[in-house]
Amino acid sequence: MDLNWLSIAEAHLGLKEKKFSSEDLVDACLAQIKKGEYLNNFLTVTEDLARARAREVDAKIAGGKEIGTLEGIPAGIKDLFNTKGVRTTCASKMLENFVPPYESTATRLLKEAGMVLLGKTNLDEFACGASTENSAFGPSLNPWNKEFVAGGSSGGSASAVAAGQSFFSLGTDTGGSIRQPASLCGCVGMKVTYGRVSRFGVTAMASSWDTVGPLARTVEDIALLMNTIAGPDPYDSTTPLVEVPDYAANLAKGVKGLRIGVPKEYFAEGVEDEVRESVMAAVKEYEKLGAIVKEVSLPMTKYGVAVYYVTMPTELSTNLARFDGVRFGHQAEGVEDLTEYYKTSRGEGFGSEIKRRIMVGTFVSSAGYADAYYKHAQRVRTLIIQDFAAVFKEVDVLMAPVSPTPAFKVGEKANNPLAMYLADALTIPPSAAGVPALSLPCGFTSSGLPVGLQIIGPMWSESLILQTAAAYEQVSGLWEKRPIIGG
């Protein structure tokens, strides 16, 4: 049995029935990480810690004690989450040697639920990018074809999950950073409602957009992870007191009578034919399953990327001001004046995309420009929110592509920032509105690259989105398809 390819639910059952041990699961993942070393998905592998933790769980099982669903399940976590005592780099030279003294809430909850931390996964530096090519430690590659990117920014997470190196992962999604790599690598990724999962201990990028969410190989696994990580956190004042349902409760309920909206703007120019066809084939399948499909319009869609590239850099430039070479991070050598020290530490520590975004953000929020750019963009953001609110009066969920294209070649967009920004054109609008959305594998292109279906719902509708996704997953059988790693 290929233990590393089991779902969380299957692995849990096997552990309970003593068919294998948690250490067997760790071994299987470590072997697969080694086999797929060329994918460059892990920045740090915590082999000894993982084995020690797995043995604790195994001892508990041997002692006849009950275990939780996530107990003894190995996973690599995006290297943007603080893990106490384990190096956390944000894929930046700035934090190359940073070891956080405290734990993020999301990883704490997973650890308390028994997760075995395998290591930290690669990302675009400070979560800025759509390919992981902005990582200071080299790009992660696509498990289906190593000439192609994994997507980003949670590219190491998505590639590791899709390559059978990790049972699941945690990522962050600001404008598409969970959904887009999940789509490009062929796994499931959920961007939650803004505020649904605590961001405490996760390095901030754009605070009014950032969300934390899970990546896994099945919809059920996403639901199980949501049950562990969702909910208010006293350490994150942006997590409202909204009830946390059992996200796994409705997975088998089907989609009979569900009203699905297909927003025409998400199939417009720039969306590749094979992507469009694959997504529409999935929508047809939903019709067969009893859902009611209708075309809808979200006229503000085309303004999403522009709203994002004004407001996000503004927030990012403010958040990254904390990296001054004093309290943590890269320290310039041989500079005696404090201001010069700040400038040099930051100039040396940040990669080029980060500097570019800091520059954009500083400009659009500077005196004389803030009204024309920043405030105007915030008003357009309101119009995007109104767009979604209106459409969700007519339909229950929306279906669209996640990414206009399948994975692109490594290097293809590396010197064209604007082309890279447009990779998120279909994931940014839901982020602007704060609504939840999920990427679900829905097919492959003729060249064998995965395509993802985006299911978008109203605020706090994660449960309905998961129920909807589970219905198609069951008939598509796509999650059983595996890429060949190594060899």
Binding site: S208, V326, M359
Partner: protein
């Protein structure tokens, strides 16, 4: 709009970023391209539309002013800095 090299230098100064000459030239072009792209927003009349800075409507979230458990000690936090420490404080570079 087209950003000049002088404007790029001004922004870099505001952002406390030391850039190389090559970076200044590259960013002048790329920032111009990005700013021209976002001009598309000017198509929209947003008069009377409120600004969105927070999507869930929360504001002024407060709590009782009482000490909670310690997540990291002061010395652990100080340990994150490689600069010299004096009396549990970080010694920084010359200001004046």
């Amino acid at each position: 709009m087209k950003l000049t090299k002088e404007q790029v230098q001004h922004i870099a100064r505001l952002a406390r970023l030391k850039l190389t000459t090559e970076e200044e030239e590259r960013y002048a072009g790329q920032l111009t391209e990005i700013l021209n792209y976002v001009e598309v927003l000017k198509e929209l009349d947003t008069k009377g539309v409120p600004e969105t800075s927070q999507v869930t409507g929360l504001s002024n979230v407060t709590r009782e002013d009482e000490a909670r458990g310690v997540l990291a000690t002061a010395d652990e936090l100080l340990g994150c800095s490689g600069l010299p420490k004096v009396n549990h404080q970080i010694r920084i570079k010359r200001i004046l």
